[in-house]
Subunit: 369 residues, 2 copies
């Protein structure tokens, strides 16, 4: 070939949300793997586990007793990373000369755990849309009640799924960490979106949705001559789910609201149902990809609750960062080059999207055959 | 307590090199761990392994045969992430309107693998300083010969050690990835150092070395009333090794040259020996911390070879990013909150430094008792 081919030649792609690059080496998918293999987890779990500190009626790590909850249940993390009350830090002791090298600030806040279901042995991928809607309603209510505190400026909703992602309990649950500061990642996104708005007069993610929407067909201009080179996986009236052009993780996805909505509390009833619909469909496709309970870290990015104006720099979206690369036991290692130089991927985002598009939206465990 | 205490209260610290924050929750060290435990690797390896593609005289993945090398040996990565020659990408096909959302550039380069020793069963931690000096001399020679190519603008020297860090072969080796672009991480550091220089008229890392140098004693102003609150682990005439104030990984360290040197090719004979000395001492302390072969990703940051002026924005240093937290089998998971919001640590950098300072510089396997 003398012409640049996106599935053959090394290139880097720019992430306009975080303002950073990722190296893509598609020809490297041929590399054999002789390294660490993860334990396969085909363990069958019971619906109720007497030793689980998240199951209804059981006792938690620091003595609290769970109610016999029927849908979702929220409680304070027993080992919270931030606390409501603590003394303020004063940096008056740092000499002027070194104040830009030793910067420290106190962080207050609150950490919540949300059980998604009383059942120990399900995950979002196997739940009904109406049960997922319960989780979404719970996020919304908690968001509202947490945002009124003076020590809450940002609410990070997230989930670690699978032991490979540091999750210490398979009982389906997520977390909400609220802090008196806007954390690094959302803060980077907010500033990128603000400068995008300043120079384009439009919202970065609204424009991205329009660019990736199948009918507009603009994506074709930057992909190879493959017959199917879209990055979109699935969609409904309110949300688009796709592998972003700049994805780092092999099967990373982003769910973006089609309307310009800045936070979950602004979703109307129909949009809430559509949110549950798209969450079920993508998590189900994930499980079906390698026929395993697909691990990931998932999180919602939205407007801060710091009382500043965020209409132009925030747009509700969900990131899924799944570590698996080739099978239930072979993950992508984000190590040496990635940590020290630049994230690197082999599979192109377009190739990954093609694979996820081919997956069914009926869970393999519930599938008739 | 009504006074802010750095070992008790949540805070965030700013990394002036990468321009980002890390959340520190010291009271969380009390959290029990019920999650994934890594396989302990106390396997005894032979000095020569017939099936190892890095041992002298053996055949490699794509058919090359290793010479009977006696110190170090360098060859082309059989599955290189970048290649010397490939067509250029032209982005003329992207409509103006979306060119800031779909940014892609071609990347050329070269990937090298460097075997540190003919012995299959050693690591830098157990090698003599004279053998480590051979590696350093090899880095310098390779750096010089690689930097002359038109497709080399940055040379990233790094090592992934341990299967937990994605290393697929225990034979001691590192890599050099050379690219036609300056990758993300060094590029962020360069721009931070440049703006620091612009506003302070001095080098960020020179100032940081002076701040952390034990005699200057400035660090005490921002740490708690602990008797020993330095972040320094060890030093010699040419290098300082410490846990940076803004470290993310539990036992992350940085080695900084005391003199303002921008790249390894500028080290004189004495400084090269001092470099070998400090590398041996920190890797040995790492192994002694949990009495295991301590995994990490390590990498050298230095001036690009792009012919621009880098005297004021580059300063030779080495980062060690080790994943272990509490034992040879319990690592820190950089997952949900870390990926989506902000890196988080429990142990303070000062506490981690105290632990590494207490470790011997004689390797536990070689220790008389
Ligand atoms: O090049 P290796 O050692 O085969 O591969 C390892 O290091 C690379 C560079 O950090 C990573 O991209 C890979 O994920 C990792 O498995
Ligand atoms: O809070 P958990 O589930 O106990 O802990 C897990 O998630 C946290 C937030 O991403 C991480 O900091 C921990 O390393 C991880 O083990």
């Amino acid at each position: 070939t003398t012409k640049f081919d996106i599935v053959e030649h090394s290139h880097r792609r720019f992430n306009p949300l975080t303002n950073s690059w990722v190296l893509c080496s598609p020809h490297r998918t041929k590399r054999p793997w002789q390294g660490q293999v993860e334990a396969a987890t085909h363990e069958v779990l019971p619906e109720f586990e007497p030793n689980c500190y998240l199951c209804p009626g059981n006792v938690r790590a620091q003595g609290g007793v769970n109610p016999n909850y029927e849908n979702t249940f929220i409680f304070n993390n027993d080992f919270a990373a931030v606390r409501k009350e603590q003394p303020e830090f004063s940096n008056s002791s740092i000499s002027e000369k070194f104040s830009s090298l030793l910067r420290l600030e106190s962080v207050r806040g609150e950490c919540k755990v949300i059980c998604y279901s009383p059942k120990h042995n399900v995950t979002m991928a196997e739940m009904s849309e109406s049960s997922i809607l319960e989780i979404i309603k719970h996020w919304i209510l908690s968001f509202l009640s947490l945002s009124i505190h003076d020590y809450v400026f940002y609410i990070q909703i997230f989930e670690n799924k699978g032991s490979i992602m540091g999750c210490s309990n398979p009982h389906p649950h997520g977390q909400m960490w609220c802090t008196s500061v806007i954390p690094e990642e959302p803060s980077k996104e907010i500033s990128s979106m603000r400068s995008y708005y300043d120079s384009h007069g439009s919202c970065l993610l609204c424009d991205y949705v329009s660019l990736e929407t199948p009918l507009n067909n603009i994506t074709n201009t930057i992909t190879s001559a493959e017959s199917n080179n879209s990055r979109v996986i699935c969609e409904n009236n309110s949300f688009l789910c796709l592998i972003p052009f700049w994805a780092i993780w092999p099967f990373e996805t982003i769910i973006i609201s089609k309307q310009h909505i800045t936070k979950i509390t602004d979703l109307n009833e129909q949009q809430q149902s559509d949110f549950a619909n798209i969450m079920r469909r993508i998590t189900c496709r994930y499980d079906n990809l390698f026929e395993c309970s697909f691990p990931y870290s998932m999180g919602i990015h939205q407007a801060p609750v710091d009382n500043a104006e965020h209409d132009f720099d925030s747009h509700l979206h969900v990131h899924f960062y799944p570590p698996l690369l080739r099978s239930p036991t072979i993950k992508k290692f984000m190590v040496g080059y990635e940590l020290l130089a630049e994230p690197q991927r082999d599979l192109t985002p377009e190739q990954a999207a093609t694979r996820l598009r081919a997956c069914s939206e009926i869970h393999y465990k519930l599938s008739p055959d």
